[in-house]
Every structure is written in C-alpha cells, then in structure tokens.
Amino acid sequence: MDIEALREVFREEAYELLTQAESSLLELVENPSDSEPINTVFRAMHTIKGSGGMCGYTKLSDFTHEVENLFDCMRKGKIAPDEGIIQLSLRAKDCIRNLIEGDDSLEQEDLRNKILLEIKSITGGMVCSDQSAHSCEIPKDSINLEAINSESYKIVFMPVPSILSHGVKIEPLLMEVSSLGEATVKCDISSIPDFDSLDPEECYFNWVIHLETSRDLMEIKDIFMFTEDYAEVVIRYKEGFLLNNTFFKSEEKGTVIEKKIPSVLNLLEEKTKKADKIIFDRRKADTTSIRVKNEKLDSLVNLVGELVTLQARFSQEANFARIPEFISLAENLEKLTEDLRDTTMSIRMVPISETFNSFNRLIYDLSNSLGKKIKLVTYGGETELDKNVIEALRDPLLHIIRNSCDHGIESPDIRLSKGKDETGIIELVAEHSGSNVVIKISDDGAGLDREKILARAIERGLLQPGEYDDRVIYSMIFEPGFSTAEIVTDISGRGVGMDVVKKNIEKLRGTISVESRENRGTMITLTIPLTLAIIDGFMVELAGSPYIFNLSHVRECLDFSDDVERDEKSQFMINLRGEIVPCIDLRGIFGCNDKEVAYPQIVISEIADEKYGFLVDKVIGKYQTVVKPLGRVSRNLNMIAGATILGDGTVALILDAQSIIKEMSGSANDYMSDYIRH
C-alpha cells in the first residue's frame, strides 16, 4: 500500500471520526455533565493524532495532540466543559478538517495558533499524562494505599485475531495493567489453530489477568480504551458479582449487560471453546462492512440495469418460442434478476440520519449568530434513500433550514410575547410513501406573510391583483429572485435559494410544496423518489411510439369521450366526478399528425396535489423502467426526462409530466395576459 492510498483511507476514517466528534460536542451542549461525549471526542482526537502522524501529517498530529490534551483534562475532571470550550472545540474541529483537506494557508495557521493559545490558557499548560507512554510510572505513595485498600479484579482480554494489523501493541497494554498493582498475567493459548491454518500475522491468544490494585475501575478501563474495536474486554471483581462488560457499552444499556452476566460468567469458566466463538463472532462483526468506491457501485448498478433489460427481452423471446424448458429458464432468470436488482439497489441505500445530524451544527452556529434559541428535532432518520439522492438533497435542505432559522423562528423575546416557548423548534421528518420518500421540514415560527407575498408578487408582475388560493400565493416563494425580507442577511434573504431549491428537487424528479399558518409556522414538504436509476413506470402509446410516465404520479385512467371542445392549444377540461380536471392532448403538443385513434384514453396524474389529464392513444400498463440519460440532446428538451430500453430493444421516452404542465401553463398564462393587455 503506497502512502497516498494509506492517506486516502486515513482521510475517510478521519472525516467519520470528526463527524462523530462534532455530534458528541453538540450532545455535550445539551448535557454538559455527561462523560460519554467527552470520551468519544477524546478517542477520536487520539486516533486522528496517531493515524495522522503515521501518514506524515505532522502539523495535524501536533495540533490534534493539544486538542486531545484538552479533552483528556476534561475527561479526568480537571476542567469542566462549558459553552466556551465547546465552541473552541468546534472551531478546532473545523481546523483539523481543513488540515486534512490540505488547506494549509497562512490564515489557517493563524487560526490554529489562536486556538492553541486559547487551549493553553484553559489547560494552563497542564499536561495530562499520555496514556501508553507515562502512566507506567506509579507514584510512590500509592503503593502504601494499595495494601490497605486494594481490590481484586479479574480481567479477560480477548482480542480479535486481526488486532495486530490494526496497529495495537499488546505488550505495553499488559505492562500498563501490571503497573497498576500486583498482577498475574496468564496467556490462554487454547485457541491456537492447527499449524496448517495458522496465520503468523494473527493473534490467537487470550489473556487472563488477576489484578490486585487500589486504583478504581475507571483507570483499568482507560487502559483498554483504544482497543475497544478490536477486543472483547471483561472486567469483574473477584469477590462479588459485579461484572463490567466491555466498557464501551454505555450506561443506559446496563440492563442488557446484566442479562449477559450468567452467560459471560460461563464463558469465563469454560473459556476454552467458547472464547473461540466470541472471537469468531467478533471477527464476523469486524468484516460486516467494507468501503467501496462510488464509481464501482455506479457501474454495478448500470450493469444490473443492462441485465434487467436483457432479461425482459429473453422472457419475451421465450414466451414467443413456446418451448417449455426455455420458458422455465426464463422464469428462473427473472426471479434471480429481480433479487439481484433489489439487492444492488439496497447497496446504494443509505439512511438519511447522517445528513439530518449534520444540520445540528448548522443550527447551533445559526442560533448563536442570530441570537435565537433553536432546537432541531429529527424523526425517521433511519429512512433510506439512494446515496446519490441524499447527496443531492443536502443543499436544498440546507437552504430550507437556513430560511427557517432566519425568517421562520422569531427571536426569544418576540416568541415569549406571542406566548410561545422561547426555544423555537425545527422539525425534520422523513418517511416512506410508496416508492417515494417524503421529507417535511417544519418550524414553529412566524409563518409566511400572505399579504406581503401577494403584494410582492403583484409588484413583480407574477400575479394579477385578485383573490388567490393560499397555495398559489405561498408557491410564489419558489419564483426566481423572490424575497420579501427587508434585511438581507448573510444567511438568507437575497431571494436566491428557494428557486434553486425547487430546481434541485425537480432535478431529482421530486416535488416541493409549502404550507403555512400565521404564527404557527411553516412546513415545506419534499417528495423524492427513492432512487434515480430504476423507476416504476407507466407505459402508454402515442402515434405508435411507447412513452413512459412515472407511475407514482398516475392516479387513474379513463376512456375519453370526444364531446368536449379542444382549443387550438391542445388543452381542454373534463369533469371527473364533479371535479374539473385540466387535460392536455399529447398528440397536439408533440405534433403527431397521423390519424387519430378511435378510442383515446386519458391518464389522470397528480402532481403537487393537483390533478391533470393527459390524452394518449392507448394505455399499456405498468413497466419497470431503467432510466437512461438522453445525453446531451436532452439537456434542452424539457418535456422528456430520459429514455429507457424496452424488452424488444426499442427505446421508449420517459415523459416529464411536471415540465409538460409547466410549459403548458406558461403558455396559457401568456395567452391570458395577452388577452388582458388587448
């Protein structure tokens, strides 16, 4: 492995650790007395320092060392965490991130030096001993205490076989434990495999340590702190039954641990075989996830898409050939392909929680700079979406949340005067709904100002004066350059944003809508398809060519009776159970000049809560659609979202119903305004 590859691995790991550290820091804000977050940050810093140094990032490891030191002091209770320290740590975390990204400008250097000074002023130059290096030196006076107040522990240390490859040195660990008091260390060699299957680079030993010490449990635990991912550590008092399972299980899980006691005790006594099993389990856990490059995944998805197409064609041919063996083969292949497709798709699915959690920091920073009290509450973080979709969602969500913080939530005194709680709440909710995921971003702030938006829309010529539905008015906020904010802040209010948000969401084939109540808050709802690669399609025929709608938009199909008048713009209305539904004749707008079919049909679709009808020649039905880009050509072709390849090898175009409606309503509006002007 060359150094660059190593650094790549380090960077990925470090980003993860930093994210973890950040959320722990924010947890600390909520709950300053909790020691777990401090430990997490400390461990993260320690790992970054170590691995960073190994990869040759000296500046990084020096800087991180100071931060680690700060947290070590907090961990040992020498410094109490407060708001200032947390903010300082967050800034330090950003610096570390920048360093890893390779930003080593003078500005950054300054920033780092400033942070270092602050850290030093807090720690007062106090250096908490570096674990592995110094704590072997036992203060002399403690030896006397030991005799009076010593406790017996039995420590079982069961590393996973691959522990050595993770850079953990076992000998210093054992030395350190021994240095705490009177210790006998026994090595259990029962799990060494046969010579044939022995891998000299793996560690097959377990250790049992009997320790007499006056130090408390915490100190013993601390020694094993950095091995937690690679070893099972069981510590218990020799007398009595308190058994502390691997300390990294947090306090809340205490009940679970208690339940485990008998079984673990058993394990200890007959450790020969069963310890093996634990190791085996750990080893299994060790390999449950791997990192894969995105491109590899994308090409896998593409290949599966090809396979789905090919298989559809194969099934068609098989049915056509009417050879039983052939047909049953085709059916088996179909089942297999479906499973493969679902599995492949699920590989790309990641929970949205990571994105959600990353907004905690944003909210924290924003509430500080705006002088407001805001709390972020998330539900449904476990909802999974295609990785590409999640990435594309980040910026839109960021915009929306910024808007909510800036315009939605009022400052604390206004909130109090309105009889609301001083702390504003922004809620992020994700949930499944068919083949879509619905994401709701709501705040309990002031709500949108209906009158102001209307006035502004009229002023900008977007609406004619008159009475409008709430939805029409609120949807104005998605118009380019639309802002009613009197003060343009550096956070929002420039009027760019919401239209970009809408564009981005539409690019994902999603929809966006807004609801608002004065003084009750605003809710923005995003509906996003689960994946971009394969959709449930609905096939229709038009002038002999197949076209595909997104099935999630389709509500019902009707036979068309030709007794309504169609104007020259290929638009007309129908009466659907008493509801007026605007319809668009696709033949007309696509310029199909050949003979009309005798019995055209209407596909009723629902887009952003509005119903529209599309007149087509024939409805064919549901079709699993692998979306292919149309390439450069489609860039300016609004009404076509892409193409797909059908079972027989022909290409079908995927219709972008939303854009068709937009085009049509655009021309209708112009028509209307022409009419008014004349």
Partner: protein
C-alpha cells in the same frame, strides 16, 4: 508516429447521400449499423430522426439528407446508420448519422485532397474538411465536429419555435 502518418495520408469512411459521395474521417467513426427501429422524439427539428438503442446506450440519430437539404429519400436495404464521435466542449458525444448507403473505407494521399471551394457548394464551407478526388469523382469530406455542432446537440430552442403557436410564448420568454 501516428501524427506523422496522418499528415501524408488518411482513411475515410465514404457513404452516399442522395447519390453523392461524402466521407467522415474514419478515426471519428465507431461503427456502422443497419437501419433499425428508431424511436422518434417529439418536438425536435425534422432532421432529428429519433433515438436508438446501441447495446444499452441511447443514441440520437440525425438524417443528414434532411439536414443538408438533399431531399427525402425512402428507407432501403442499403440505408445505414454511421455512429460517430462528436467532440464538443471537450466532451465526446456519440451521435448516429442516417445515410443512404456506405461505400467503404478509402485511403487518400495528402495531394488527393483539395480545400473546400468557397462557392459552388450547397453546404457551408465550414462543414467541409476538403474535397477528395477518386477516379474522377469527388468525395466531400465532412468535418464531424462541425456537422453535429452545438445547434444540433441542443436544438431545443429551435424546436420550440419551429413547432409554432404552442411554444412560441414560452420560448420567447426563455430568450428574453
């Protein structure tokens, strides 16, 4: 090495359009297909025939006859689609060209090729790399990148306007 070689002679894939011989630089072509099922794209200029499935990729096909104003000739057994690589804004796009028939690959020495005449051609001189002479016949060597230029690859605006009343309003809005 290749550069040197190219300076002296080059290979061209020649084809017929309305009875006349044209050619693409063979290095710009990928393959030749028989005429197959092409799905039309609505709201596109008449010379855009549609899209076809090239082993799982969707490729746009243009009718060069219509584009060059050489009249409409019906599809025959000889009708072929030449898949070419178009370099546009440092990005390679694959496009299909519908032609009446493919003649074959020919080698032209440098002195067999003359620069395009300024007048006397239906086509703009921009689109032509040169005129090759072969047994007393002329072969028009087309510049692939220019023939399938920006105007073709993003024809939507033209489309909207050419399709008349329906989109006139919204199209003029986009222009404004």
């Amino acid at each position: 090495m290749l550069e040197e070689y190219n300076q002296d002679s080059a290979q061209y894939l020649s084809f017929y359009l309305a009875g006349k011989l044209f050619a693409f630089d063979v290095l710009k072509t990928r393959e030749v297909l028989q005429y197959t099922n092409i799905t039309p794209i609505p709201c596109t200029p008449p010379y855009v025939v549609g899209v076809l499935n090239l082993r799982g990729n969707v490729v746009t096909v243009m009718d060069l006859r219509v584009k060059f104003g050489l009249g409409d000739v019906s599809i025959t057994d000889d009708t072929a689609i030449i898949i070419v690589e178009v370099n546009y804004e440092d990005e390679i796009t694959v496009v299909g060209a519908l032609v009446d028939g493919v003649k074959g690959v020919m080698r032209f020495e440098k002195d067999q090729i003359e620069p395009p005449p300024k007048i006397g051609m239906k086509l703009s001189a921009d689109l032509i790399n040169g005129i090759g002479k072969l047994d007393g016949n002329f072969v028009v060597m087309l510049n692939v990148d220019r023939v399938f230029s920006e105007e073709d690859l993003s024809f939507a605006k033209e489309t909207l306007i050419s399709h008349g009343e329906v989109f006139l309003d919204s199209a003029s809005e986009t222009v404004a």
